[in-house]
Amino acid sequence: MPILRFLIQRLLQAVLVTIAVTLFVAFAIRLTGDPAIMMTAQSSSVTEADLDRIREALGLNQSFIKQYFDFVRNILSGDLGESFFRGSVRDLIALALPSTLLLAVASMVVSIALSIPLGIYAAVHKGGAADQIIRVLSLVGLSFPNFWLGIMLVLMFSITFPILPASGFSSWQSILLPATTIGIILTATNVRLVRTQMLETLSSQYVMVARAKGLSEKTVIYKHALRNAAISIVTFLGLQFGNLIGGLVIIELVFNWPGMGTLSIEAIAQRDYPLLQATVSILAIMIVAVNLAVDLVYGLIDPRIRVA
């Protein structure tokens, strides 16, 4: 049962990644400041005894190892714990996670909808004017920072022409600007990938065979060539989705999007250990899960690695 072995391997891998990431995050955040002092920074009459009491209440007087194992034990029993300031971590994540996923998926959809047709067109008309323009635009897209594009889009569509909301998540229109921003950024890379992969499959012998059979160019390109190019495209998109979830932080800040990125940034700012540890763990698990899903989909589209 190679598939079972594969799944077990991946599961072990996921556990190791999560342990490593949470351990590192829990350790690093404790180096950056004491939440008890941060909490009481506004008031002037705080004694050392008050601070100790706060630390005891938050469980911070215990050793690091003890604190970490408590956190792990709670997670394993399904309890994400309490934020230092904002109540149940679970409730906070339940609100933030769907918005982040929604934004990530919407961005990928925008990028796929742009890069696949453009990439195919560029490959089929290799060396033509359209191919040149697509390649130059892609280079431009790769060269400027994503938050800058976000700000430009806000200026254009929320300030100059106030047709779309600039920030927050209040209606479905709110997602258009952030998703377009990330979508365009991703397209810059993806269009190149699609183009190269298509060029490679289009020059393969089985494509010539398909043409020699009398098939129309449409069938040759969209069935025979694209299906093969899709193998590497899907792999890449999957890995990209993982990176994307991590990379959403900045865009969420620019658009004040109530997602996991915003949540973890706030947690860092407030030294909210339980919240930060939980958000980071969930992001890590999600990235591993996406990679696993990609491997499984890969088997579906490539019969050569499909398990008999």
Binding site: I8, Y206, A212, G214, L215
Partner: protein
């Protein structure tokens, strides 16, 4: 040309000229070729690489535009029954061509491993063509696909429909390609080197199938090949091309039997003809017209077994482990070489022959110490190599040199030829100064009959044959006593191949070299070797002098291998006992070791497994 002149030809090509590129970079790939293809006949287009023969075939399907070429002048008149009129394939619009491609004119390509789309099943790839041209429903198309898979004698045709290409061997894939090309019963089948990438016994199988089906379906065939033996077996008429140009044409008897042009004569002279050395014992140089050295006989007539062998290999066993299961344990082993034993004497050539998967290259690589053997011994002039410490083994490595098949991949493109040539000598500390290196490079180039000033050039400036000479020169850098030539001439055009084989024989004579000549090509073996060892599934099944093996083969596999080689006898259609299935795999479960063959003496120095 032939008795068909009165009937108008099915396909008439007039003055076909194909060009690539524009303006100053324009290249003429086919220059004014004309021929007629008649019903139920086979026309062979023969030529070496770069002669434009494959380009001509793509022109007939109107596929040139996809690789950047175009028919710049000439007509390709085809009598189409689908359209009920004569169509000029050079001018016809894409929609018309699409009705003809795969339907009335279909094509089989050279490389069966990459001809089928890896992500679709055999059944869907076949029924796609059938549905397209015959308007059949999906299930009707599947039935027809099945019918044609059975026609090309594929076992388990029904299961094959749901198989993917990677589950099939090269020979099976080529049969699928034939079935796919024929499933709309085309009037013309273009076969572009359909057997070049296949083993010789599989080649014989495929040639039979094409011939049988041609007779059954009444198809005309354009057979493109560089192999004169194959052409002699398949063709009615022959057209010879050289460097994009027409050379000569005629019936197969005329062209192969009484060639008129010097090029055709030279081409035929360079073809090793199996059986041509019957009654002789020593290797013989190829007779290349216009080359003086062709008359010089080989120095070593027969192997002097009384002398101490250069190399003795005893019970050499090399296996590759295949891991699997939850614990990643070794579940299977590829028994690439099992108890292989032989000796190579000074100045002799031992040919190690076999088909893909026979383990012949594994033996060569184990001797060169590129792979660690599982067991066995190897003695170089009596000294046991595997028992030596690492540093001393390296000294032996200097004594054996390897020449690979691919002359393109085995020279570093960023080093000058001179640097590449002297590198082994540098590694082994034979030269140190720059002046020595220059002298050495010049000397090596001279040995392989290339000008000394080539030392400053880069590999891409050389042709395939010249590169293989360079690889041989590099192998000579350390004054080795044994050269392992692993399919070293297989990738070369036949005229170049003859020159390189002559060079190897000349070097053997002047330097007293021994060769382990690893190849699948029996005809070349007959020319070059003193003794022959035949390998099958990792074991030597027969070994003896060249004369013993070729004139009195004992093992059934040796016989089959010899019978499968196409002979240069125009019009001769051999009937062979065909290998029905595939060559079995040398991979076996761990607890199921292969049965060891028992070599028995047939006559003096001739052993065979019986």
């Amino acid at each position: 040309m032939s008795q068909n002149d009165t009937i108008s030809p099915l396909l008439s090509v007039k003055d076909l000229t194909v060009k690539f590129g524009e303006g100053p970079r324009e290249v003429c790939a086919v220059d004014g070729i004309s021929f007629d293809l008649h019903e139920k006949k086979t026309l062979a287009i023969v030529g070496e690489s770069g002669s434009g023969k494959s380009i001509s075939s793509l022109a007939m399907l109107g596929l040139l535009k996809f690789i950047g070429g175009r028919v710049s002048s000439g007509q390709l008149e085809f009598q189409s029954s689908v359209l009920g009129e004569t169509v000029d394939l050079a001018q016809a619009p894409e929609q018309v061509l699409r009705k003809i491609r795969g339907n009335e004119i279909s094509m089989i390509f050279q490389e069966p491993m990459t001809s089928l789309n890896p992500v679709f099943t055999i059944g869907s790839q076949m029924s796609e063509t059938i549905s397209l041209h015959q308007g059949l429903s999906k299930s009707e198309a599947q039935t027809r696909a099945l019918e044609f898979l059975e026609l090309v004698r594929l076992p388990n045709a029904k299961r094959l429909l749901t198989n993917y290409p990677h589950q099939l061997s090269g020979g099976m894939r080529q049969r699928v390609m034939i079935a796919m090309a024929l499933c709309c019963e085309p009037k013309v089948l273009i076969a572009d080197e359909p057997t070049t990438a296949l083993d010789v016994t599989i080649q014989a199988q495929i040639l039979h199938i094409i011939r049988d089906l041609q007779a059954e379906l009444g198809t005309s065939v354009i057979f493109i090949s560089h192999d004169m033996g194959v052409v002699s077996e398949m063709a009615d008429d022959v057209l010879v091309m050289k460097a994009s140009k027409f050379v000569e044409t005629g019936t197969v008897h005329q062209v192969l039997g009484h060639p008129q042009q010097d090029y055709t004569k030279a081409l035929l002279a360079a073809v090793p003809k199996i059986g041509s050395m019957t009654g002789t014992t020593a290797p013989k140089l190829f007779d290349i017209p216009g080359m003086a050295q062709a008359t010089k006989p080989a120095q070593v007539k027969t192997t002097d077994t009384a002398r101490e062998p250069v190399l003795e290999v005893e019970n050499l066993t090399t296996r590759y482990d295949i891991r699997g299961g939850l614990m990643n344990r070794v579940t299977h082993r590829v028994h690439a070489a099992e108890k292989v034993s032989f000796e190579i004497y000074p100045g002799e050539t031992l040919a190690l022959v076999g088909e893909s998967g026979s383990g012949k290259s594994t033996v060569g690589k184990t001797i060169q110490q590129l792979i660690e053997p599982a067991s066995g011994a190897m003695r170089y002039r009596g000294k046991d190599i595997f028992s030596l410490p690492r540093e001393d083994r390296k000294a032996f490595q200097k004594q054996t040199q390897y020449v690979f098949q691919d002359p393109y991949g085995s020279l570093n493109p960023r080093m000058t030829v001179g640097e590449s040539l002297v590198e082994p000598a540098k590694v082994h500390g034979l030269i140190s100064t720059k002046a020595e290196a220059l002298d050495k490079a010049a000397e090596l180039l001279e040995k392989v009959e290339l000008p000394a000033e080539y030392a400053n050039r880069y590999p891409h400036q050389f042709s395939g044959g010249q590169r293989q000479r360079l690889c041989i020169a590099r192998a000579l850098a350390c004054d080795p006593s044994l050269i392992i030539a692993d399919e070293s001439v297989s990738a070369l055009d036949v005229s170049v191949q003859a020159q390189v084989v002559n060079l190897l024989m000349g070097l053997q004579e002047s330097q007293g070299l021994s060769y382990l000549f690893i190849t699948h090509d029996m005809a070349v073996v007959e020319r070059i070797s003193h003794r022959v060892a035949v390998m099958y599934l990792g074991q030597i099944v027969e070994i003896g002098t060249r004369q013993q093996i070729f004139e009195n083969p004992q093992h059934p596999y040796t016989k089959r291998l010899l019978a499968a080689v196409p002979k240069l006898m125009p019009g001769h259609r051999p009937t062979r006992v065909l290998l029905d299935g595939e060559i079995p795999s040398a991979m076996r479960a761990v607890d199921d070791p292969p049965r060891l063959v028992d070599l028995q003496q047939v006559s003096d120095g001739h052993f065979a497994a019986l």
